[in-house]
Every structure is written in C-alpha cells, then in structure tokens.
C-alpha cells in the first residue's frame, strides 16, 4: 500500500517536472545563458571589455539616461491620469462609466507603436493636424506641441501605459471596504478629505505597483521611441540594442547593454511583488455590502470632460487620423473628394506582396502561441492550484518568471542561442513562436490561475466522492467550469502576439515577416497610407478577438460586470 502511494506521487510529478524543465531550458535558460556568456566573451576568452565599452561610451550613456527619464515620467504621468480615472469610475457617480471603461480597454489593447505613428500625423510640429488647426486659430508661428521630443515621447507612451495603473487601482478600490470612508464622512470630513486621507492611503500599495507596471512598460518599449526619438536624434536602450544589430553587427555589445535592462526589470518586479504581498491593510481584502457612489455634484461634468479629453488623445484622435490617412491620397491634405481614394487598400492588400505572407504568418503564430500558451498555462495553473505535485509553488513561480525579460532582451538571447547549432531556429517561424510563448506565458498563467481559483475544489471533491476518477472529474466538472476562463486566456495571448514588435524586429527574416514588422518597415520608408491601412486591419482583428473574449467571459476583462 505504502509503495503504491509513493509510486503514484512519483508517476505524477516526474513527467510534469521534466516537461516543465525542458520547456524552461528552451524558453529561458538557454537564451539568457547565452546572453550572459556572450556579454563577457571575446576572441581572447572571458572579458569585461564589452561592458567597459558600452558603459564608457558617452552616446550609450545618454541612451541609458534617456530611458531612465522616459520611464520615470511615463510612470508619473500614468499615475496622474490613471488614479483619478480609476477613482472617478470606481467610486463616484460619474455618468457614462460603461463607455469610459470600453474606451480605456481599447487604449489597453491598442498597439503603442500604432499610437505613436498616429501622433506623428497629429502633432508633427509642422504638418501635424492639431498643430495646423492651432496655427490657423491663433495665427501663431510656433506649434502647439512637437511630438519629436522627449516630452512628446513621454506623452504618447503614457497614453498607452496608464491603463495598467487604472486596472490596478480600480480592482483595489473594489476591495476597499467603504465603511471606513463612510465613517470619515459621518465624522464630518469632506469628500476630498475622505479621498485623500482614507482611500488614498489604503490604495497606496496598488498605486505604487501601478507606477512600477507603467515604468516597466516604458522601459521595454521599442516601437514608440523608434518612431519618435530617432527622428529627433536620440536613442533609448531598446532602440540602441536594436541598432547594434546593424551591419557590422556588435552582438556582444548588444548583450552587455541588455543586462542592465534585465536587472532593472527584475528588481522592479520584485519590489512590486513585495508591495502587493504585504498584508496588514485591514481595510483591504473584503467586499462589504452595497456601496454608495460618491456624488460629484457640479464637478460631474468637469470630470467627465477631463476623462473624455484623455480618451480623445488615446483613441478618438489617433483612430480618426489613421482612418483619414488610409482613405487619403496625401495624408497631410484636407479630406476632400479629390483627395479620397481606395487605392491604398488595393495597394496594401493586392499589390504589396509582403502583406499576404505577413498576415498568414501573424495569424499562424497568433493561433499557435495562443493555443499552446493557453493549454500550458491552464495545465500549470491547474497543477499548482490543486497542489498535484510536490514543489507546485516553484512551478507557479517559473511560469511567471519570464515576465522579467523585456522583449528586446529576450530577442537578443534567442538570436544568439538559436542562430547556432544544434538548434538553428533563426529564419523560421519557430523562433518567433518561442519568443512569443515566453513573453505571453506569464500573462496567460495569471489569467488561468484566476480561473482555477474561481473553480472551487469542493465541486471536484464531490465528483471524486461519487466515484469519478480524476480525469473524469477534470472532463466533466472542471473543464466546463473553466472553459470561459481558458478561452479568455487564449484571447489574451493572441492579442499580445499580433501586436508584438520589440522581439520580432530582431528575430524576423524576410521570409518570416509579421504584420508589426511590415508596418515598421513601411514606417522607415515613409509609406503612411499603407501603414494606416495595415494598422486599421490590425485594430479590427484585435477588437474582433476582444468581442469574442467578452462573450466568453460575460464581462469586460478589466474586471467589471456588464
């Protein structure tokens, strides 16, 4: 009897562990190991020369500094926008909350590089439409804003990073019991005082952790700085790493320059985890009964106008200018009948031979990664939630570990690891698949984990007591209950894959282009119309998937019930 127990434990855990270990080696350890090794290698053996070279070069120091400035201000700006918006939609009687949430969700899924590209057309200092309107109205010679500057870059990156803060805060606000706030109000504190002295301190860990998420976004981003910083003559870490690959390639320096980005990300995430893991906020952690929304009174419409001003910048204006450029012969000219055309669509989809292949590659990779990723995430989440194998906590940790690797850094590691025997994956879709799977696994796992936390083990136990085997329980009880969550996981991964640029830009070859890479290629050539057409196509695809996901979940994925 004893021996069978031992054997059955053995049977279960060993294959799971072996499979996980192999996957992990391929996805993370091999690329990162090579990255570390190459960063200290030279023809004469191990050396620190690459580090000395990259960190001693004033140009590269400047890129480093630019990244720090960008990340800090993006984090700050995201807080300045995300916190009030979360409070307004979570706690007050602001009208139009559903529309606002839908638009914030749209900002969340909009590829940041498309946003940056749209803002070139909106706020280029001379041809930008907003600047033209501003000059027309004021007669001024100076532009209202110049997007090709550090503040311009911060502005655009923050527009697509603040949803991270928003989600973080809005979900925390839901958990903060409102009786403390009500007690404050009863004791005579004003609404503002309650918000500042009760709600804010309670939400503080969430705020700080939202800040960190936005900073991480800004650190890892490639597309927006490439579109906005390079024309202005400055680099960030990511664009600099990318340009190390240009001929003659300096892969060793790229590797050395990747390490600080990797360390910074790991450190920040550790910090964030500590913040969120801290207990002792007695008021957070349980919902109380019905909550009374705080009346805004005459500030209602002011607040609403502010919220819509932000959302106009993230969604309305960029989408409108993309649509305009897609249908115009010349994007900078007014949209008159003379300037209207469908030729951009014909060219992009029927004459430009790269489009078809890129669309097929993108869909193939999206479906493959989403399917494998969702299955892997679901299995890992199931195993860890039901504690099926010893050391299940470690499995959970490993599943989220790749989150510390920025896309560009991952790509440098994969490039080094898989352009040499025994596994030459460069030039195939497989290397992109590996990159995407690694990047998306943590997100997928988090989603699947939430799903299994919601499927109560008691139901499964009831099934077991009635005599069903584990597999039958899995098939007839767990799977149906978890189905919608798994579909959502699939959608999440798929959306992440089709918009991926920062790893793809280093790993693609002409035979394995994806849509985001084609868009970037077209940007370098200044083909605004074709980019706009492909951008709209990408958005349409994304929103199709979002709709599918919402149908599966019966709510929007920011956490609100419809």
């Amino acid at each position: 009897m004893r021996s069978t127990v031992v054997r059955s434990t053995f049977d279960r855990s060993v294959p799971v562990w072996i499979a996980t270990a192999v996957t992990l080696v391929l996805l993370m350890i091999l690329p990162l190991g090579w990255l570390g090794w190459v960063s200290v290698s030279s023809e004469q053996g191990a050396t620190l020369a690459n580090y000395v070279q990259v960190f001693g070069d004033p140009h590269l120091q400047k890129a480093l500094w630019n990244t720090i400035v960008l990340a800090f201000w993006v984090g700050t700006a995201s807080l300045a926008v995300g916190v009030p918006m979360a409070w307004l939609t979570g706690r007050t009687d602001l009208p139009g909350k559903r529309v606002i949430r839908a638009l914030i969700m749209a900002s969340f899924v909009t590829p940041p590089f498309l946003g940056a590209f749209a803002w070139v057309m909106l706020a280029g200092p001379n041809a930008g439409l907003l600047n033209k309107i501003y000059r027309g109205l004021t007669g001024s010679d100076d532009p209202l804003m110049n997007i090709f500057t550090m503040p311009g870059l911060i502005f655009v990156v923050a527009l697509y990073s603040f949803p991270y803060v928003y989600i973080m805060i809005v979900n925390t606000l839901e958990l903060i019991a409102s009786d403390l706030e009500e007690a404050g109000a009863i004791l005579g504190a004003s609404r503002l005082r309650v918000a500042l002295t009760i709600t804010l301190p309670l939400a503080f860990p969430a705020i700080l952790s939202g800040f960190i998420l936005a900073v991480l976004q800004a650190l890892a981003l490639f597309g927006s700085p490439a579109i906005l910083a390079l024309p202005a003559g400055f680099h960030t870490i990511t664009t600099q790493i990318w340009s190390f690959f240009q001929y003659p390639p300096k892969v060793e320096q790229a590797a050395a320059f990747s390490i600080p980005l990797l360390l910074a990300t790991a450190l920040l995430l550790q910090l964030q985890k500590r913040l969120l893991g801290r207990r002792g906020y007695a008021g957070v952690g349980g919902k109380t009964g019905a909550r009374r929304p705080i009346p805004l009174g005459r500030w209602r419409w002011v607040a609403l106008a502010g919220v819509f001003a932000v959302l106009a910048c993230t969604i309305v204006l960029p989408y409108a200018v993309l649509a305009k450029a897609a249908f115009a012969k010349a994007w900078a000219q007014p949209l008159s009948w003379d300037n209207l055309t469908l030729a951009n669509f014909t060219f992009t989809f029927f004459e430009y031979s790269a489009t078809r292949d890129a669309v097929i590659n993108t869909l193939e990779l999206g479906i493959m990664t989403a399917t494998v990723g969702a299955v892997m995430a679901a299995l890992l989440a199931y195993v860890t939630n039901r504690r099926l194998v010893p050391g299940h906590q470690a499995l959970g940790f490993l599943a989220v570990a790749p989150v510390v690797i920025p896309g560009v850094v991952l790509a440098v590691g994969l490039f080094i690891a898989y352009t040499r025997p025994p596994l030459v994956l460069y030039g195939t879709l497989a290397i992109l698949f590996v990159a995407y799977l690694t990047k998306e696994l943590p997100v997928g796992y988090a989603q699947a984990d939430t799903t299994f936390k919601g499927v109560h083990p008691e139901l499964e136990e009831a099934g077991r007591i009635l005599g069903a085997g584990r597999l039958r329980v899995l098939r007839e009880i767990t799977a149906p209950l978890a189905k919608s969550g798994i579909i959502a996981t699939w959608c999440f991964v798929f959306i992440g894959v089709i918009r991926e640029l920062s790893a793809s830009i280093i790993l693609f070859t002409p035979a394995t282009k994806v849509i985001s890479v084609v868009i970037f290629d077209l940007k370098e050539e200044g083909q605004f119309a074709a980019i706009s057409v492909l951008g709209l196509f990408m958005l349409a695809m994304t929103f199709g998937i979002v709709l599918l996901m919402q149908t599966a979940l019966g709510r929007d994925f920011l956490g609100a019930k419809d």
């Binding site: 004459e351 002409p510 050539e525």
Partner: protein, 340 residues
C-alpha cells in the same frame, strides 16, 4: 561578291545567335517555371519594386516575385545574418550601396552571371569580373516645399544648407539605412570633408531612414527642405502634384548606381537569371525612366523631357571599393554628429 558573302555570313551569325538565345531562353523559362518563384531583396522604393515585379509576373505567368523591400543596409544585415544561420532565401539582391557588392563578391556569395544585352551598358554600370551590374541610377538632390519656401529663397548649393536660417527646417535620411545616402555622404565628404556634416548637424536636422522619406516629409510640409534624397522619389512626388521642387546643386550631385546580383546560393537560380535578364531589357529600363524617374545605363532608353539628362549634370561618382572600406566610418560619424 565578297561583300555579299560577308553580309550573308553576318546575317546567318545574327540569326543563329538569336536562335541560340531563343533556345536558351526557352530552356531557362522552362526551368524558372519549375522553380515557380524568385525572391528579390530590393531597396528600390516599394511602389516601383512592386511595379517591376507585377510586370515580370505578367510576362512569365506562373513565376511569382517575392518582393522584400527595405533599406540597403538592412538588406546587407539580413543577408549576412541569414548566412550565419545557414539560411538560403535570397535569389536576387539589389541595393544602392555599391560597396555591398564588393563585400559580397569578396566573400564569394555572388553568382557570376552576365545579363542579356549588358555589353551595351557603359563601364560605370558593370563589374569587371561579371558579378554585379547597375540596374538603375539616381542622384542626390536638395528638395523644398514650394508652399513654405519661395523659389528665390530656396537653397541653391549644398553649402547654403549650413546657413543658420535653416535651423529646425531641414530633414535628412540615414546612411545606416539607405545606400543612396551612404553614397551621398561619402561623395560630399570628398568634396567638403566631415566638417560639412558636423556643421549641418548644428541646424537640428530631422532624421528619417529611407532616401525616399525626406521627400515625403517635405511634400507633407513637416519640414520645408530636404538636405538629401533620391531624385527619382522627388520627381515622382512632383509628378503626382505634391508641392515639391528639386534643386540640383552646382557643386555637383552624388551619383548613385544601384547594382543587382544573383546569390551563389540562390534557391531559385533559373528564375533569378530570368528575372535579372528581364530587368535589364529595354522595356523595363524604359519603365524605370518613364514612370519612376530613374536614370539607367541602357543606351536606347529615352528620358522624360521635364528633368535634366544625366549628361547635363555635374556628377559626383564614388568608388565602390572605397564605399565598402569606409562603410562603418560613415555610419559612425553620422551618428556622432546627428545623435541617432
């Protein structure tokens, strides 16, 4: 009598060689059709490249052209990365940096192939060893937006661009992306030294990548003046009615002859040869001159009358060998001066 005989002999020789050519063609076409496609890595601007590809597909149904268009320097980067990983994808390579072809030839990556009719081309369009040939040519020019700058105020020379009144009003393309621009930079370094670019950078120049992009930027009105760019792109924009005017500086215009070659490891060698032959036919060379505004080496091509003949311009050619040797220096110093 002897004259008649020699005429007859000549006729037979001509007919015979035509017949041989035709037979050769038929075999080549047959083989190319079996291969089914040709992969073209090209730096020719996208709409022009797709036009050439579509004309080939119409002439030889059943053979698809995969156009992979990006900047010259990106093409070289990808070819060498693919080589490192043992990937054979490219059939025909065409960039605007003649130095690339010196490098690729030295590395024994090119196939020696003489396109049909290439003997008629001038020496500047031919590699003496027969590995690569100039498919097209353009010159670098200054361009300005006619709504923003009056003709009288427009810069006339390369040196005019150094004037502080152009601060914040200029746009350049990048030698780390474009072969047209790496050629341009070297030609002007010969003329004025690196100091010219150091001073130019003081005018806060907007940086784009492709040699076509400064011109689209000027046409959109984002910057009034382009400090370089392929003349053919400016010409195309002008023909479409964009408010853009071209200036051919009197110090001379950097000549860019863009070579094409077949890769030694081409996975579709017959289609590659057929495609290369096709691009050197008078018909296609004429298309490039007419609708695309390019110069070519084909002696029978007629040029549009609304632009200067190549012979009317003071050309500044560069030596491909030197371009190859100084490739890294050009990119490095440019980044040093302009920041990115």
């Amino acid at each position: 009598m002897t004259r008649m005989v020699s005429a007859l002999v000549a006729a037979v020789v001509i007919l015979g060689s035509a017949a041989v050519a035709a037979a050769q063609d038929a075999a080549l076409v047959e083989a190319a059709k079996k291969e089914g496609k040709v992969v073209w890595y090209t730096s020719l601007v996208l709409p022009s490249a797709e036009k050439v590809a579509k004309l080939f597909e119409a002439a030889y149904p059943g053979i698809r052209v995969d156009v992979n268009r990006t900047g010259s320097q990106r093409i070289l980067q990808k070819i060498l990365q693919e080589l490192q990983a043992g990937i054979k994808n490219a059939d025909v390579v065409h960039t605007s940096d003649a130095g690339h072809f010196v490098l690729l030839k030295d590395k024994k990556l090119l196939l020696r192939y003489l396109p049909q009719g290439i003997d008629k081309f001038p020496a500047g369009f031919k590699d003496k060893d027969g590995y690569y040939f100039g498919l097209r040519a353009t010159v670098n020019v200054i361009a300005y937006n006619t709504r923003a700058v009056a003709a009288a105020d427009a810069p006339k020379t390369w040196k005019d661009l150094l004037d502080a009144k152009w601060k914040g009003k200029l746009v350049t393309a990048h030698p780390g992306y474009s072969g047209v621009i790496s050629t341009h930079v070297l030609a002007l370094v010969h003329l004025f030294g690196w100091d010219y670019f150091k001073q130019l950078a003081q005018n806060k120049v907007m940086i784009t990548q492709s040699a076509a992009d400064p011109l689209t930027v000027v046409a959109s009105g984002e910057r009034p003046v382009a400090v370089n760019g392929g003349e053919y792109s400016a010409y195309q924009l002008k023909k479409k009615g964009s408010p853009i005017e071209i200036v051919y500086p009197k110090e001379g215009v950097p000549l860019v002859v863009s070579p094409t070659a077949i890769m030694a490891a081409a996975p579709h060698p017959s289609a590659a040869k057929l495609f290369t032959d096709f691009t050197f036919t008078r018909e296609i060379q004429q298309v490039m001159a007419d609708s695309e505004g390019l110069y070519t080496g084909h002696p029978e091509v007629k040029y549009p009358t609304d632009k200067p003949k190549m012979t009317e311009l003071k050309l500044l050619p560069v030596d491909p060998e030197e371009l190859e040797k100084r490739n890294e220096e050009i990119k490095k110093r440019f980044v040093e001066f302009f920041g990115a």
